[in-house]
Every structure is written in structure tokens, then in C-alpha cells.
Symmetry: C2
Subunit: 145 residues, 2 copies
Amino acid sequence: MKELMDDQELFALFRKNGYKVTTQRLAIYKFILPRGDHPSAEQIYQGLKNDYPTISLGTIYKTLHLLKKIGLIQELGLNEGSVRYEPDMEVHINLVCTQCGKIHDYKPENIENIWHNLISKLNFKPTGQRIDIYYECAACKIKES
Amino acid sequence: MKELMDDQELFALFRKNGYKVTTQRLAIYKFILPRGDHPSAEQIYQGLKNDYPTISLGTIYKTLHLLKKIGLIQELGLNEGSVRYEPDMEVHINLVCTQCGKIHDYKPENIENIWHNLISKLNFKPTGQRIDIYYECAACKIKES
DNA sequence: GTAACTGCAAACGCTTTGCACTCCC
DNA sequence: GGGAGTGCAAAGCGTTTGCAGTTAC
């Protein structure tokens, strides 16, 4: 549960992997963490530049790669241009609106068990997974009619 | 089952959607269809330019979008640069090697039933889905050691 | 003090776009 | 014949890279 990680653990995780703790890295991770909407790099930049006026997109990209490497976030490539980032590394479903691109997480009951059953026949250990469902969200349906 | 669609059905599907049947469109679709490796636009281009020396990447992209629109293929955005294309629209798992990018399809027994159970609580109808498992394939493991 | 990190700007690579020519129907 | 499709080249845009100045430790 990433939500329960305190600053000490976070700092330790950075350092264990040979990375320094910097204001920018903390700001980026803490920006993504509570958001349920899987922001893009650009959205993170827009969201942070008020509080951190000199932060740059380059730093955001570098930090996102670093966070991915130490297992804190996941990248979702979505074939509509930009990549989206999310902090939930557990098994869950991404509900993706094909019109507006909004993403919400969804965890049906027992998804952990169902998932582990489904992949029990594999003869290797997955390093991660991703489950998407595509649909048209209510707001987009209204807009069209 | 796309594999069973004959040329007549394919032509009809194009025309029903208001698109003309062209040599290039057929060549592109028939190139992707039997391949299990989910080629990128560039790979399709490389694979076709011997038989169709004047075919262009622009046409390939336009055709891929068209094929997606009429439901013949799916796009897989994979956050390592290019988008990959696959003709299997049924529920299945993509086994993605995180090192070399190779993708294989995997259909555990009963995946259709398991999937439909899993999403039975949704109050909308999905237009599609995508399930990925990330791992390191045998060939890449050997290369590393 | 020094190696790692940041910010900026330029470079990159995949994809899209515009337009004259060509081909399907 | 006419409008849709192709091929080419240029433009677009998200992302990466290089480097001088700055910061964590």
C-alpha cells in the first residue's frame, strides 16, 4: 500500500537505489499519488509550476522514469499521443473513456484471486500487469446527443 | 473469427462503412492478419515495400486508423515509442517482454467466462478491452547472463 | 568537495497533415 | 467523371538528450 509509506520510507527507497532525495522528486511523486486520474507529464507540469515555478518538463520526465524504475509508479501508453502515469501497482482495471481519455481505477471483488487463477499456468513470474476496459463515459455520451 | 472472413465479406465491410477497396488496404490488413507478433507501422512498411515499392508510411498510418475504426484491428500503445497493431479483437492476454518488446497472445481456458464475470457489475457496455502481462522472455534472460 | 541533479534548449522519432496526382466505382 | 485514396514532403508534438550551473550529502 503506497498510501501508507511515510517520508522516511520514501527517502530510504530513493537512497537504497542510489538516488538523491530532491524537492522536485518529492513534489512529483506526491502530486501523482493522491490523484485518481492518471496524469500525463504535461498535466503534472501544469499542476506543479505554480508551486515550483522553475520546474521543467525535462526534470519531470527524468523523475517519472526514476519512479518507474524503483517501482513506485506505472506507465500507461495509450496510443493517443501522451503516456499516462499512475501510482497504483496492484492488480486493478483501468476504465478508459475512448472519447475524452479520462481513466478511473476499478477493483471488482476478488480481482486478486481471479487474476492469480487466470495466470497460474504461466511458467514464469510476471513483473507487472495492466488491464484496460474501453468505453464511452456518461459525460461524453451527453455531449454527443 | 477474423481468420474465416473471405474477401467478399472483407470488401463488403469496407464498403458498408463508406470506404473504397484498394490494393494497399488489402495488403496491409493481410500482412497483419496472420502475424502473431503485433507489428508496428514501421515493421508493416518494411514488410510490404518489396511487394509494393511505392507504398508509403503515410498510407499505412491512414489505413491502420481506418482498420481500427471498422473494428478489424486494435492499437496497443506501449510507452516505448511506437504503437503496435494486432488483429485479434477477442478477449486474450498480451504477454509483453519488457526487454525486447516481443508480444505473444495467450488465451487461458475459460478466459471468456472469467472475463465476463469480472466485468458483470459494470453498468455500461465496454467497447473493447486489453490485458497485458509484463515479463522478461527466455531469450532476453539468456542474453543477460 | 564532488558527484548527481536541475533547467533550458536543441535534437529526435513517431505520427499527422496538406496537396497534387491517381485510381476505384 | 468525380470524389476518395495514395505518395511525398513538411510540419507537429511528446519525449529525450547534452550541457552549464546548482544542490544534496
